[in-house]
């Protein structure tokens, strides 16, 4: 599966900026792929890029219209279907991060068939995976893990990819969630895979590669989250990371959507090493990514410094500042290639 870029980002009548979070993530990390946005009357979101019709997008070279928005009712309204059918008729593929599959709508399915266009439902996986086998693959892998869900594992992986490339590493982001798939044009939403194939899907996401190549794998969930730890462990085993980075949000008190307290960074490091050893005996922590969004700059720098000192590991906020301390550590331990 490969979603072709450049993209037209469809925002529909998104209520506000938050409803267009997926699209905003694509603009953040792949601005060059995002030629325009398509907004309907009443849209409360703005990505700060050119407004375009489907025809204008086609003329500008767009290959795929991406529905990167949460719709108010939870279903796909008729006036969205009209635009999707227009896009298919104009020769664009359509990719969607909605729960509902595009092909469930007869007009969409028929238009895709008639115009020989592809529909991508990135929350679902139509790929057939094999069961994981735990066999060591060539090339290097870094996985982002977390003290909780939604602490910045995707943004950390993307920042590490960007900064490693900036320093001459052969590094590649590997998406395991729907927004990540739209940002990189491929990958799989691993929480949508049948449970038997979690590790197998993770092995598929970061296949055998050349010596010196780094896959930077987007983590999911947390080993300490009672809803999702199974996904996290299957992803850890299948990714067989050489290095991992722990993502942490220092102001959060309880884990997302549950009552459990946030585990310590230390216990996440220990559990990840203990369990990760099964498929990579040399697994090691390469640093801490502190999500300092809730802190002012002075507090942020203080928290990062204290974390690094306490753990004796590099720490940084790779999105707000840069990922250099972590990449220094990777270079120190693994060398440049």
């Amino acid at each position: 599966m490969q979603i072709e870029n450049p993209y037209l980002l469809f925002l529909g009548d998104a209520r506000d900026q938050l409803a267009a979070k997926t699209a905003a993530g694509i603009v953040d990390w792949r601005p060059g792929w995002c030629l325009g946005q398509l907004r309907l009357p009443g849209c409360g979101a703005d990505l700060g890029i050119d407004d375009m019709t489907v025809a204008e997008a086609k003329a500008a070279g767009v290959r795929t219209m991406v529905i990167g928005v949460v719709n108010p009712g939870g279903t796909l309204p008729d006036h969205w279907v009209d635009v999707i059918v227009q896009a298919l008729a104009a020769g664009l593929d359509v990719a969607s991060g909605l729960h509902t599959r595009l092909a469930e709508f007869d007009r969409v399915r028929e238009a895709a068939h008639a115009h020989q266009r592809q529909l991508f439902d990135v929350r679902h996986s139509d790929e057939t995976f094999r069961v994981g086998n735990g066999v060591k693959r060539a090339g290097k892998r870094l996985l982002t893990v977390g003290t909780d869900c939604s602490v910045g594992k995707k943004y950390t992986a993307l920042a590490i990819e960007r900064d490693m490339r900036g320093r001459g590493f052969n590094a590649e982001f590997r998406a395991t969630g729907q927004t990540g798939v739209l940002i990189s044009g491929r990958g799989v939403a691993i929480d949508a895979v049948i449970a038997d194939f979690i590790a197998g899907a993770a092995e598929w996401i970061s296949p055998d590669n050349t010596h010196g190549h780094w896959d930077i794998v987007e983590g999911q969930g947390s080993l300490f989250h009672p809803s999702f730890a199974g996904v996290t462990l299957g992803l850890l085993h299948g990714s067989q990371p050489d290095a991992f980075v722990v993502c942490h949000e220092p102001t959060r008190q309880t884990m997302r959507n549950v009552m459990n307290p946030i585990p310590s960074i230390e216990s996440v490091i220990n559990a990840t090493v203990e369990l990760g050893r099964l498929t990579n005996p040399n697994i090691r922590c390469a640093g801490i990514s502190v999500n300092t969004a809730a802190l002012d700059e002075r507090e942020a720098r203080q928290d990062i410094e204290r974390t690094a000192e306490r753990l004796g590991l590099p720490a940084c906020d790779p999105y707000r500042f840069d990922a250099d301390p972590i990449i220094d550590e990777i270079e120190r331990v693994f060398g440049r290639s």
Copy 2:
């Protein structure tokens, strides 16, 4: 979902006894539910129960025909479809442990619809689960875990249910695999659930219950199996067991279908306690189930004794002998009700 019994066990033209392993498991554990077997010409399996036609089964009071057999080609042959349609027309439901869904066959789907009968595909789950929440539920739970896949977790759970009931406990087997679902008439094949919902499905399998009630939950995989550990962990978190029993096959050298060595019983106990604490801080090991099938009786008793001494925990082979040492421990720690 509730598969109604009694059953007619359909064996088709199963090559040999091994191909009818699922049906044999049902006869082993629910002999009273199994009124007859239906064998086609060339069938090499025999469950040792009465041969019956569909009409005879209906007259005897059978409610469901169970396809408890692996078919040679991997697909459902036409002459099986004929019998399935006959069963539906006679007013039986049909339950299947095959990979292919029954409803994929037009004649089967149409017959089920025409005769208002239910089709159960126990390898698939049509239930909608919610995401797990980790909240403690009332009642007690025991989970069987293993040093590997296929070491006797289902049979251990069933033997513990049987022997606890024999001693007056209010105990109930909870199925998490296809054969277990056919043996108990309900449950879910947890490895067939979407990854996001593993823990939620496990919570659904052993819901809130009365004080003193024990759910005996069938375990899956192993925390040390690189293919399936994610499923195992989600099941552990969702089951929130008060007690667990480690199942072990002492002659096995490497884990099933992979090259990894079998972990020690000690490391399985430690990992299960460490990780299980997240949803039940009082989790404890209630004993070891040694699968002695490959040993003669003297070796079997010696191995069990050595295991119990080494670990300071009750050990037994609950299928070959009985589960008493484990139930004594449960009674000692948790009392009778």
